[in-house]
């Protein structure tokens, strides 16, 4: 797969701007070299992964300072897609987040975001890089079932 895409986007830290993400993902998916019929699925998956990651950054990304922006980048080299989301907030402990309870009687309203990221991506990591919290997600696009939701 011949891909070489590198996109960096900065958006205000506000959920009102989430619809823009869908449009960015459509454009990126169109550029990725894969079977034509898979572009829509890829675009949908990218949109949900970015939305969940960005909402997380908006929720945990506030530290009272004037850093009202979140940055994200999408890099596709060959078969490997890496998405990174940067914020300067208080952050969270990714390892402490357990899968949601699927039992009907114990349903929770919240707690599905990270589960969705872990389900759709091959690897999800969260670390500090200087002053930044970085949510890093990796996906191998060559795996046969890799881009199906």
């Amino acid at each position: 797969m011949k891909n070489n895409i590198n996109i960096i986007v900065t958006i205000p830290k506000d959920t009102r701007h989430l619809p823009i993400i869908g449009r960015v993902c459509e454009k990126v998916a169109q550029e990725i070299n894969c079977a034509e019929e898979l572009h829509k699925t890829l675009s949908n998956n990218l949109a949900i992964v970015l939305t969940e990651g960005l909402v997380n950054a908006i929720k945990y990304g506030s530290n009272g300072q004037l850093d009202n922006e979140i940055h994200f980048c999408i890099n596709v080299t060959g078969n490997k897609m890496v998405i990174r989301i940067y914020d300067k907030g208080i952050g969270f402990d990714l390892n402490s987040i357990r899968p949601p309870n699927f039992t009907k009687s114990r349903l929770e309203d919240k707690g599905r975001g990270i589960y969705i990221l872990r389900s759709l991506m091959d690897e999800v990591k969260y670390h500090k890089e200087n002053d930044w919290n970085v949510l890093e997600m990796t996906k191998n696009l060559a795996k046969s079932d890799s881009i199906y939701l």
Binding site: N44, F102, D109, L120
Partner: protein
């Protein structure tokens, strides 16, 4: 949030007139559902025909409504899921929790 309510006998259908249900508008839907069940009404069908994108916050709003309905011995059923919405329900296994119908009419028939 734009919604339309329609009463069919004792059942209310809530049509969500938005193309997205996400972190930006899910709290409003939660409030709409809470207010519906707070008015001693019991059975609600939510039609998702216009929703083309749902995230975990949107799912959470529907789960919140489902729990309120269950507590009050009422019901919250869903209809008309688009493909992305259907996939998200399957991914999070919520398709096993909700009664989901292809059309509003099918959902209404289930009460007969």
């Amino acid at each position: 949030m734009k919604i339309k309510l329609e009463k069919v006998d004792a059942i209310t259908v809530m049509y969500i007139k938005e193309d997205r249900l996400d972190a930006n508008n899910s709290e409003e839907l939660k409030e709409e559902i809470r207010s519906f069940f707070g008015n001693e009404k019991k059975d609600l069908v939510i039609d998702l025909a216009e929703i083309h994108f749902i995230d975990s916050s949107g799912l959470g709003a529907l789960v919140s409504g489902y729990k309120i309905a269950s507590t009050l011995h009422g019901s919250l059923k869903l209809s008309s899921q688009q493909s992305q919405v259907k996939s998200m329900f399957e991914l999070t296994r919520l398709h096993r929790v909700f009664d989901i119908f292809t059309t509003v009419d099918d959902a209404l028939l289930s009460y007969k």
